[in-house]
């Protein structure tokens, strides 16, 4: 019958209207900013620099190798290497970045910098409420703004952080084993050389 | 001749003059609409309610739109290159004067012929018009209806033929 479809449609929308007041799963609106949906773990927005321990300058993992600066597609990272060195997590003396700027108005969250970093130093943050009234300076994050602790990293990406910690611990263990074997080798070498002439005399 | 009459007459004349003197054709059509509105107000001033509202409904609501569409769909909306004033203005003036004098003579003669009735309530209500159309003037009504039907059928046939030719 002509008009039947319209009446069925009207009934359906009336049902929608009435039930939206009583049924919770119909009205899925999240009233931002009073309510927020918790982001999933793989959320990513802009990069940040990880540091271990309490002192962000001493514990920063970044060694200013500048690989991320070269790989960044829109070239939003600017690094200036330091002139002196500081020990890294293994104990080796490394350079550190004197300046590390990321322009987040340019950054496209492609995560390439994270993928190429050999030192697990730069990771993706989940912070998105970064609006500011300063169009240029407010969106240029410097070293201090980018440095966030390893505990923060654990909070936002727990699985990833534990995996990274395991890798770093493995690296540290291997390095330690290497130093111990090197120390034993050098100790053995030092002990052997005077032993040789003693063998000659005997 | 009250103040309202002079005001409405001025509006109608202004509209009519603008309709022939303006350069842009669509502006002319809109000025003509103002003239139609002035005419409707004149009817209302004379307490001829049906005539006034029918004037608005038919002229402003339909004829003005028809005129405007006709201007749009042809090239009339561009300002003509040769200017808007015609070469044969003298002949036009003579013909307009002749028509005006004939109409004026007819109006004045009819006013003198019909005795003045009591003023106040309108002599002709819509009911009277309806009764007259259905009893005394039914033949003109039917002839006009036939004419309109013929015009509509003609328009449909022309449009249909164009569609077939376009195919």
């Amino acid at each position: 019958m002509l008009g039947e479809g319209i009446l069925k449609g009207l009934a359906e929308t009336a049902r929608n209207f009435a039930l939206s007041f009583v049924s919770k799963e119909r009205l899925t609106t999240v009233q931002y900013p009073e309510q927020r949906i918790a982001p999933i773990e793989a959320t990513r927005d802009f990069p940040f620099l990880v540091y271990d321990g309490d002192d962000w300058q001493a514990g920063m993992r970044c060694v200013a190798c500048q690989i991320c600066e070269k790989e960044c597609p829109p070239k939003c990272i600017y690094i200036a290497k330091s002139t002196d060195k500081k020990p890294d997590y293994v104990g080796k003396q490394q350079f550190y970045p004197a300046r590390f700027d990321i322009d987040i108005s340019v950054c496209m969250s492609c995560q390439i910098c994270v993928e190429v970093c050999p030192f697990e130093a730069i990771k993706m943050d989940t912070e998105f409420e970064l609006s500011t009234t300063d169009r240029f300076g407010g969106l240029l994050f410097d070293r201090e703004q980018l440095a966030k602790s390893n505990e923060y990293y654990h909070r936002i990406h727990p699985t990833e952080a534990t995996a990274v910690d395991a890798v770093l611990a493995e690296g540290k263990a291997k390095a330690e084993v290497k130093t111990i074997t090197a120390a034993i080798a050098s100790a053995v070498k030092g002990a052997e050389i005077p032993a040789k002439p003693a063998g000659d005399g005997a | 001749m009250s103040f309202a009459f002079y005001l409405i007459a001025a509006l109608t004349l202004a509209g009519g003059l603008a309709a022939v003197l303006l350069k842009n054709t669509v502006h002319c059509a809109l000025a003509l609409t103002v003239a139609f509105a002035g005419q409707a107000l004149l009817f209302l001033d004379l307490d001829a309610q049906f005539a006034g509202f029918a004037q608005i409904l038919v002229y402003i609501g339909a004829v003005a739109i028809l005129v405007v569409f006709a201007i749009l769909l042809t090239k009339g909306s561009e300002t003509p290159k040769g200017g808007v004033y015609s070469k044969h203005w003298l002949a036009g003036l003579v013909i307009a004067a002749a028509v005006f004098s004939m109409l004026g003579w007819a109006v004045i003669w009819s006013v003198h012929a019909v005795p003045r009735g009591p003023v106040g309530t309108p002599a002709v209500t819509v009911l009277d018009i309806g009764n007259a159309l259905m009893s005394r003037y039914v033949l003109p009504l039917e002839i006009v209806a036939l004419l309109l039907t013929a015009a509509m059928i003609g328009a449909v046939i022309i449009a249909m033929h164009e569609k077939e030719r376009a195919k």
Binding site: L2 | I60, I65
Partner: protein, 391 residues
């Protein structure tokens, strides 16, 4: 007491006018009524915008605006401030005079339509002998303003939208008028107050509203369809839908002029709903005789708001009709049915009182409707779509 409440606006007007000297009183009374209308209906328009947004939102399972004021009631104030403070951009090659006059003409014409609506007992601003004709005459002037808006923008898409809108409005003008003519035929008068008075009678407590008669129901449905199309409301809003032709004929309007177009469209919706209420739903008369103690203007405005809610409901339900579909619908379906409705109304009048006329008229209306529906859907253009590619 209820009579005083019923006549309260008339009494207030007389009291206020009593402060002035005798010669000024009629004019002052009219001016007061005009001021009341000019203040009331835009306020109602503001309320309707909130209801529309929230109603549509709830139909679509979301919340509407809820930030400004409790439940978003003050949203129109924010919208008003926004439209007043926006820059008024007039295109360089646009016809400035016509561009300015188009929204003015629309709003003036629509406001004039409210003058004849009887909003309560003795509450019609002007009681004209040919009130209905006045209303339709003024409604026809709105088409001119739509065309002016589209043409003066010097934008081919605006012009196209304006021509579509005018074509649509003209096509649906005819069924609108014809369905009202049936009411005029039965009442015997063009005066809206007489039409309401004719419906204000009760048999066994039930009212004589025209919608409760077979020809009245059919007429009301066709009037509603034509009214939806006249005011460019969904599902007939092709000329102004947001995804079509940008915004149709009001693309080049910004700031307050756009707000005037918006206001004009909603006020046209109010006045045409008001007319539909007067013609078919009994105007200010109560639905049951025992409810006659409720003031008449409350009934009129409740019926008006009910019509508005139905408009909003339709907007949230139906998809848009294409231009050729809606023209076909007007000329090939609604118009023949309105003509038939005229004959059914005439038969109703001449068959005299009794149960025969109910049966015969209902039968004719139902058979005509199903017959036309079957004829229209017989060719079954609903097969799989065929494509024609360029050679």
């Amino acid at each position: 007491m209820t009579e005083r409440l019923d006549l309260i606006f008339v009494l207030i007007q007389q009291w206020l006018v009593g402060f002035l000297p005798g010669a000024w009183r009629p004019a002052a009374g009219v001016v007061l009524s005009v001021v009341a209308i000019v203040c009331l209906f835009p306020a109602l328009f503001a309320l309707t915008t909130v209801f529309e947004r929230k109603g549509l939102a709830r139909i679509q399972n979301r919340i509407g605006p809820n930030r400004v004021g409790p439940l978003g009631i003050l949203q129109p104030i924010a919208d008003g401030i926004k439209s007043l403070t926006k820059e008024d951009i007039v295109p360089l090659s646009a016809d400035a005079v016509v561009h300015f006059l188009a929204p003015v003409l629309l709003v003036v014409a629509v406001f004039m339509g409210f003058a004849v609506l009887p909003m309560g007992r003795n509450m019609a601003l002007v009681d004209m002998d040919a009130g209905l004709l006045f209303f339709f005459a003024i409604g026809a002037s709105t088409e001119l303003s739509v065309f002016m808006a589209g043409w003066s923008s010097r934008n081919k898409y605006s012009l196209l939208g304006a021509m579509r809108a005018v074509a649509q409005m003209i096509s649906y003008e005819v069924p609108l008028l014809l369905s009202s003519v049936a009411v005029v035929m039965i009442t015997g008068s063009l005066s809206l107050t007489k039409i309401v008075a004719a419906q204000n009678q009760y048999t066994w407590g039930l009212p004589h509203w025209y919608i409760f008669t077979p020809w009245g129901l059919a007429g009301f449905l066709m009037y509603a369809i034509a009214a939806t199309a006249e005011t460019n409301r969904s599902p007939f809003d092709l000329p102004e839908g947001e995804s079509e032709l940008v915004a149709g004929y009001h693309t080049e309007y910004s700031g307050f002029k756009f707000a005037l177009f918006f206001l004009g469209e909603y006020l046209a919706m109010f006045s045409i709903s008001g007319l539909g209420t007067t013609l078919f739903l009994g105007g200010w008369s109560a639905p049951l005789q025992i409810l006659g103690w409720v003031p008449s203007w409350i009934w009129f405005f409740s019926k008006l708001m009910l019509s508005i809610f139905v408009f909003i409901w339709l907007r949230g339900t139906l998809p848009r009709l294409r231009q050729d579909q809606l023209m076909n619908f007007a000329w090939k379906f609604v118009l023949p049915l309105t003509l038939l409705n005229l004959m059914v109304a005439a038969a109703w009048r001449f068959l005299g009182d009794g149960w025969e006329r109910w049966v015969i008229c209902s039968a004719v209306v139902v058979i005509a409707y199903t017959g036309m529906a079957w004829a229209g859907m017989r060719h079954g253009h609903f097969g799989p779509r065929s494509y024609r590619y360029a050679e």
